[in-house]
Amino acid sequence: MLFQRKYVLALRRALYKYRYRKRSKGGEQEGEEMIKTENLTKEYNGNKAVDGLNLEIAEGDIFGFLGPNGAGKSTTILMLVGMIEPTEGKCIINEIEVARNPLKVKAIIGYLPEDVGFYGNMTAEQNLDYFARFYAMDANERKKRIEELLELVQLDGVSQKVGGYSRGMNQRLGLAQALLNDPKVLFLDEPTANLDPEGVFQYREQIKQLSDEGKTIFISSHILAEVSKVCNTIGIISKGTLIARGTLEELKNEFGRVGTENLRIIVETIEPLPEIEHEDIISAEYSEAKRKVVIESKSDLRDYISSELFEKGVKVKEMRMEEPTLEDVFLSVYRR
């Protein structure tokens, strides 16, 4: 059985890599669409929580859905998982329209809600068994799957009832319940919100493992560091509308310097620095007995600075261009 499982996993990985390569060769950002929204809109009392959202996420992607509180992230997820119906537009997952076939969709997705909750009077195993009974699994399959999942989230051997769990344990159990049906698509709403650093580390490992299995993962979060570490594509939502989408690199290139068109180059040397002059240099701040300079310039002058210092016999300890972080990108996009 173990051999069979490994074989299936290897096949899935191969299939995923093949699809990924196919996408890359074609120069397209996306291959087969796994998640798609068309003009998705949700109104509450005349206020649009989600406003005409168009989104396409390819199979195998780890998509980070960013946005401030109240931007419409959770509402979008609830529509995607078939828990609420859109006012307008539609969600399609694996070519199935969610509003028309919510049960079909739920059978192939897993969902970890924000602040996930369970039945406090039952153990983790009993909770998972209750949920697993909604799928076509017999008693043996359920037992085996639950054992695997509890081991994965390191809750195996915990016999106490869920009512006595910490929030972190609850969150880990939440991931296990989202994986009960071995879903094709996984929706995670603020997955690291209640986890300690060790829990966050384990979560990243689990996401990596799930991604290797070829699952499409949709992560909604406002913890930017987490998104930048695990996601390969990112979407930023504000006031119910998607305002940016792409890989982290694409977003950095597009939005990283919005508002400040200049670059920051930091140079550290062993000997004191000579004066560096170039028409693109806007300012240069020397420090540490002229052994460090922060240059603000209109263009990437690293080649020029390197040659100048080499000619003058100054040994370079470090030279780097300051990269915009996801936080810079997010704030830049959000404040536009």
Partner: protein
């Protein structure tokens, strides 16, 4: 609607009820009080039986049975009549305790979102919860009846087939009564934000229909139909025309006697008709108001079922009389039976609609 999800939810809810501390405490209290009232009922029954035997032995002498009066053998169903009072109060509390946090607890623990993320329709959840609750109520009533039956056997009282049938029917009616309160609690649990508010709403409705309605029923009827018609005026006939009105021939003083004679026969008949119409109307309004009281309906129907001849009714609402024949029973209590069936359906329908439209965020 898929039955698989429904039964899964119902199974979980049933187990939850049976393992819930509050359910077990109230069920234990309910069973203990039922057993005590059964014991009292059995004592009462044995006393009556003794009296009956004495009467029989007095009547039947050496000459055999005397024609005419024949005492009636007491029915063991009387024992269950005492139980029905406990059922209507403690059973109602048990049903409310079972239902008041069925939905609010899911919202508070946020387990509803987890549940809905799996392949299950919303109606399966609410129907499953109702089914689980009904099964738990059937279980509670079943246990109470089994204990009662065991007590009967302990006291060497063996019911006949007809009595067994009536006891079973009493169980069904008891479940219907408790179901009314359970559906009220389920409804308040669906419309309330939290369990605290839900129990308050459930108790308000319980007190309104159990105490307030019977109290104001008569007042409402009087307001609607007004004062009863006044009787016709009477006239006092004039004294006989004697020379001395106050003395007879023997010289005795005669006191005038007032003889009240209706002034007009037609007027009197009209008064009787108006009065009958008035009381019929008032009785109908009273009856309609009392039909809104589940306890009245329950006691009316259970009393009819538990009377030996099927008609010895003891109703608590106005407009009812005791001792009617068996065939009249259904005619008399069909409204109560209908109310016992309709009330749970109405409250459950409200809970169902509200739950289906509930905003899950």
């Amino acid at each position: 609607m898929e039955a698989k999800g429904l039964f899964n939810v119902a199974r979980k809810e049933f187990i939850d009820h049976l393992t819930s501390r509050k359910f077990l405490i109230i069920l234990a209290l309910f069973l203990v009080i039922s057993a005590i009232s059964m014991h009292q009922g059995i004592d009462n029954y044995n006393d009556r039986l003794e009296r009956y035997k004495e009467q029989i032995s007095q009547i039947t002498g050496e000459e055999g049975i005397e024609p005419g009066y024949m005492p009636e053998k007491p029915s063991i169903l009387l024992i269950f009549q005492m139980m029905s009072f406990q059922m209507s109060l403690l059973g109602a509390i048990l049903a409310i305790v079972m239902g008041f946090d069925l939905i609010t607890r899911e919202k508070e623990s946020r387990s509803l979102k987890s549940l809905l993320s799996h392949p299950i329709f919303r109606d399966e959840i609410i129907n499953g919860k109702a089914l689980g609750g009904i099964l738990a109520l059937v279980f509670a009533i079943g246990i109470a009846l089994i204990i009662s039956f065991a007590m009967l056997l302990l006291f060497s009282i063996v019911p006949d087939l007809n009595e067994l049938w009536r006891i079973a029917l009493f169980g069904v009616i008891s479940v219907l009564c408790l179901l009314t309160y359970f559906s009220i609690a389920l409804m308040t649990s669906t419309v309330s934000e939290n369990s605290g508010m839900s129990i308050i709403y459930a108790l308000i409705i319980f007190l309104t229909i159990s105490l307030f309605l019977p109290m104001v029923g008569g007042m409402v009827a009087e307001i609607v139909v007004g004062e009863p018609p006044e009787s016709p005026t009477y006239r006092i006939p004039p004294p006989p025309p004697t020379p001395n009105a106050n003395e007879n021939e023997q010289g005795e003083v005669i006191k005038p006697v007032k003889i009240e004679i209706p002034m007009d026969e037609e007027e009197w008949q009209r008064y009787e008709e108006e009065s009958r119409a008035y009381w019929e109307k008032r009785s109908a309004i009273d009856g309609a108001i009392f039909t809104l009281v589940p306890t009245t309906n329950y006691l009316a129907v259970s009393s009819a079922v538990l009377s030996k001849n099927g008609g010895g009714l003891m109703f608590f609402g106005p407009g009812y009389r005791s001792e009617t024949e068996g065939q009249d029973m259904l005619e008399r209590i069909w409204k109560n039976i209908l109310a016992l069936i309709i009330f749970p359906l109405v409250f459950f329908a409200i809970a169902y609609i509200k739950f289906m439209r509930m905003d899950i965020r």
